[in-house]
């Protein structure tokens, strides 16, 4: 014990020093100081230390104090900010935004939701009879989710039935076409589709035809979805911080990174309307349960 204590102290101080060094090489740029962004920042600080410099675009009007650091942009506005050439950029909490590559700058996107595979795994546990999962999408950024369709079919036996919509005007007709062809719908974090009207239309279709639908945010669960499987803002920030450290270490992470921690919210009244019997033990594992 006497021998191991100094070693442990040395290890901890080494880790702290590494984190401090990484923190010094990162600049966090926030679109504003909204609560979700603050939560994501907390995740970053968990990973890189409390001293990581932060700039909020809603307050900062001058030039950003950039000196070759890795930029972690939180929010869409921060993501599309005109950073200097060669800035290594990682952006999160910018759903539907897919930045084009600019020179050597790495536009690494941190997705809002976990991978479709991990989410489908969860859908399957909620709805064991799930064979065909319909996915409606509009934005290019959603393609990354669909890359796992083969893996999902292979691992879970669930076919991903995708329909890309040009606009929400097509939503009713698309849903009518999906009638009888899917066992459930997943609404990806695709901003054009996430509207009160769309959700209302989907809910109407879902409840009338007993086709459950899943949403990408716990806040949307109350709109009539059976459940939401999502990541927390904190996890998104933490995932972005991990990617920043990878860049600082000289390695290049994947262009799109998915948060690895999921949280589930159940809507019991929707389950009742949809005639879905969700296992009580499973409900017990939910992070939130709406009555």
């Amino acid at each position: 014990m006497r021998k191991s204590a100094p070693i442990l102290l040395l290890l901890l101080s080494s880790l702290a020093a590494t984190a401090a060094r990484a923190g010094e090489n990162v600049l966090v740029v926030m679109s504003s100081e909204l609560a979700p962004y603050q939560e994501a920042l907390a995740g970053i600080r968990t990973e890189l230390g409390a001293n990581v410099p932060v700039v909020a675009l809603s307050k900062e009007t001058g030039e950003l104090p950039l000196n070759g650091q890795v930029v972690i942009a939180i929010g869409g506005k921060a993501a599309i900010h005109p950073y200097p050439e060669g800035t290594r950029l990682i952006y999160c909490l910018a759903p539907g935004l897919a930045l084009a590559k600019k020179g050597k700058a790495a536009g690494i996107r941190v997705e809002v939701s976990p991978t479709l595979l991990s989410m489908t795994r969860r859908f399957k546990s909620i709805q064991p009879s799930l064979k065909r999962l319909g996915v409606l999408w509009t934005s290019d950024s959603m393609k990354a989710y669909l890359d796992e369709a083969d893996a999902i079919r292979a691992e879970l036996g669930v076919e991903i039935v995708t329909y890309r919509l040009a606009g929400t005007d097509e939503l009713p007709e698309t849903l009518r076409r999906l009638q009888g062809k899917v066992d459930a719908l997943w609404l990806p974090p695709d901003p054009p589709l996430i509207s009160a009207a769309s959700l209302s239309t989907i809910k109407g279709f879902s409840w009338a035809n007993d086709v459950p639908f899943y949403v990408p945010s716990d806040g949307l669960t109350a709109s009539g979805a059976l459940a939401s499987v999502s990541s927390s803002f904190r996890d998104m920030g933490r995932t972005a911080a991990k990617a920043a450290r990878t860049l600082i270490e000289g390695r290049l992470p994947a262009a799109t990174i998915f948060p690895d921690i999921t949280k589930t919210t159940f809507n019991l009244s929707a389950a009742k309307e949809l005639n879905v019997q969700v296992d009580q033990g499973l409900i017990g594992t939910g992070d939130q349960v709406l009555p």
Partner: protein, 615 residues
């Protein structure tokens, strides 16, 4: 059922019925109000929607209509919102899979054909339909779109908007209100019933007291009063009850009292109805006739009494003169055991307050004991008279006899020789004088009323001595004398000489009754009868017996059936007198071939152990 319970039940039933009716009416009223409210909101919403959705209808654009329908659906809480064209085709439906349907059923045709906003209610849905109109305004060069009722004939109907508002939530709200109302009514009803119970109890409490008091009076407890401190009608009733109770106590003899008198009468009493049957009788009457009450009641009086009173069965007697009063008529009845009982029969008609004859009251007094006592008294008086006479005669005769006997004996001694011719006469004079002397002695014994000296006496010892005296005479008459003496026989207070006289007299009589041989048995035994123990002497013979008509006379002085000169008629009288002086009894039981005299002497210390008595 008690009045209190009845009122409570009635109140409860009324409360339930009125509560149920109230709740039913309230439910209908709440439903109507709330559904009306929903209808108003829905109508407003559908009219508003109609104006906004008119463009979409004209353009037949689902994408335009759907958000508006969804908005209206959300605002009104509708299950569905539908936009239709003038032909009933669904242009947009919040349930998108129903878009393109054609509404052609009667209900929808009726609703869609109305030119004004229509509100229809189904079991669980409120359907509100508003027409959408288009009016071309030439001045403006464009068409105006309107919803609701048409303003003029220039308007053209281009479609309809329907809102289907579910009533489940509205009805649930109504039910919740009614539930609350039911709870309130229930609490109020409970309080009302509790109050009613208390009021009823307050009213009925004096009545209950009156009932209890009446029951007490019914049981003969006259004078019972109840305490009711009220001045209303109930209080007046209680006061009247108390007055009645006091009057009854002062004027009425209770049935219980009368029953006690009737039952405890020592005289046998029968009550006979007009049908000649016994309707009641007391304990003494049952003891007289020996029957159970159940065997007597309802039976004809004559049949129960029997004997000389059996004629009471005859109907003619019952009808004519039977009901007349009879007083102290000596009659003989026969009881259940067949024993003839002399009774003093009295009868009187039983009359009610109006004097109408209701039956007959019969008293049959048992005269057996009285007759026995009369016999005893007569015998005693006779004995007393005979005793006094005997004492006087004996006293007067005794002295001359002494002189005669003395001179006869003196002359006999002075005779020169036994063969002297005067010897026989003198001997005869002496012999007869001695016989007279013995007779006088018996008379003196008979008359000596209070000169008996008593001492603890052993009856067995006296019997043994007496038998030794009579044995010689018995042997002469070829009579076998048997003695059966009881062991452990206690002593009694008696005069041994007189007791021995009893044994000798009874034995002599017995032997006289067996002229040609027989057996004389003398027994002693101890009997417990009543509170006393008795030492008994039994003298039995198997002689000729005593005729039954003579049994009552055998103890009378100078009564004898023996030839003249053989008996004085004083033997059994003497026995009777001696026994009487010893506070004992003598009974005779006789039939041809067997006679038994039983003499009993009381032993005064029956509560002591026999061993102690023996000592």
């Amino acid at each position: 059922m008690k009045l209190q319970t009845r009122i409570l039940c009635l109140g409860l039933i009324l409360a339930i019925i009125s509560g149920g009716l109230t709740l039913g009416i309230a439910k209908r009223a709440f439903d109507a109000i709330l559904i009306g409210q929903v209808g108003q909101i829905g109508t407003s919403e559908v009219n508003n929607l109609g104006e906004h959705a008119a463009d979409g209808i004209r353009e037949r654009s689902e994408s335009v209509l759907l958000p508006q329908l969804q908005s209206a659906q959300q605002a009104s809480g509708a299950h569905d919102a539908i936009a239709l064209d003038a032909a009933g085709n669904v242009l947009a439906h919040t349930e998108i899979t129903r878009t393109g349907e054609h509404y052609e059923n009667a209900f929808h045709v009726d609703v869609l054909s109305s030119s004004d906003t229509v509100v229809r209610r189904t079991a669980d849905m409120l359907i509100i339909c508003a027409p959408v109109w288009e009016k071309h305004v030439a001045d403006l060069g464009e068409a105006l779109l309107m919803a609701g009722a048409p303003n003029d004939s220039a308007e053209t109907r281009i479609g309809s908007i329907i809102l289907e508002i579910p009533l489940a939530r509205t009805l649930a709200v109504s039910s919740r209100i009614v539930d609350r109302l039911a709870l309130i009514i229930g609490i109020i009803g409970l309080a009302a019933i509790t109050g009613l119970v208390l009021i009823v109890r307050g009213i009925l409490r004096p009545v209950e007291l009156l009932i209890a008091g009446t029951e007490k009076i019914a049981q003969g407890d006259y004078g019972t009063e109840i305490r009711v401190s009220r001045a209303d009608e109930v209080g007046q009733l209680a006061g009247a009850f108390n007055r009645m109770s006091r009057v009854l106590a002062e004027t009425t003899v209770s049935k219980e009292f009368m029953q006690g008198v009737f039952s405890n009468m020592t005289e046998p009493l029968f009550v006979v109805g007009m049908n000649g049957q016994i309707s009641a009788c007391n304990e003494a009457a049952l003891a007289l006739v020996g029957y159970e009450r159940s065997e007597v009641l309802g039976q004809p009086l004559g049949m129960v009494l029997g004997g000389q009173l059996c004629s009471l069965d005859k109907k003619d007697v019952m009808q004519e003169g039977w009901m007349e009063s009879v007083k102290d008529a000596e009659k003989v009845l026969v009881n259940k055991q067949g024993t003839r009982i002399e009774v003093l029969y009295s009868a009187a008609p039983l009359k009610d307050v109006q004097g109408a004859t209701q039956g007959l009251i019969v008293v049959a007094r048992d005269m057996t004991e009285r007759k026995t006592m009369e016999t005893i008294i007569r015998r005693s008086e006779k004995m007393s008279a005979v005793g006094q006479l005997a004492a006087g005669v004996a006293h007067e005769i005794n002295n001359p006899l002494g002189v005669i006997l003395g001179y006869a004996q003196a002359l006999t001694r002075r005779l020169p020789s036994p063969d002297d011719p005067s010897a026989v006469p003198l001997k005869s004079i002496e012999k007869e004088a001695l016989r007279c002397k013995n007779l006088v002695q018996d008379l003196l014994t008979f008359s000596r009323v209070s000169k008996v000296e008593k001492e603890p006496t052993d009856l067995n010892k006296i019997v043994t001595a007496a038998i030794s005296l009579v044995n010689a005479q018995a042997r002469m008459g070829q009579i076998n004398v048997v003695s059966k003496l009881s062991d452990n026989l206690p002593h009694f207070l008696g005069n041994p000489n007189q007791v021995q006289q009893i044994i000798i007299n009874l034995s002599t009589n017995a032997m006289d009754a067996m002229p040609s041989a027989g057996t004389l048995t003398v027994k002693t035994e101890l009997r417990d009868e009543g509170p006393l123990s008795w030492v008994c002497l039994l003298v039995q013979d198997n002689g000729t017996g005593i005729p039954s008509d003579l049994v009552s006379k055998i103890f009378e002085p100078f009564f004898t059936t023996k030839p003249v000169g053989k008996g004085t008629g004083l033997g059994l009288s003497l026995v009777h007198e001696i026994v009487k002086k010893h506070s004992g009894t003598v009974d005779v039981r006789s039939e041809p071939g067997f006679t038994e005299f039983c003499v009993k002497f009381p032993v005064r210390f029956t509560d002591r152990p026999k061993e102690a008595a023996l000592s």
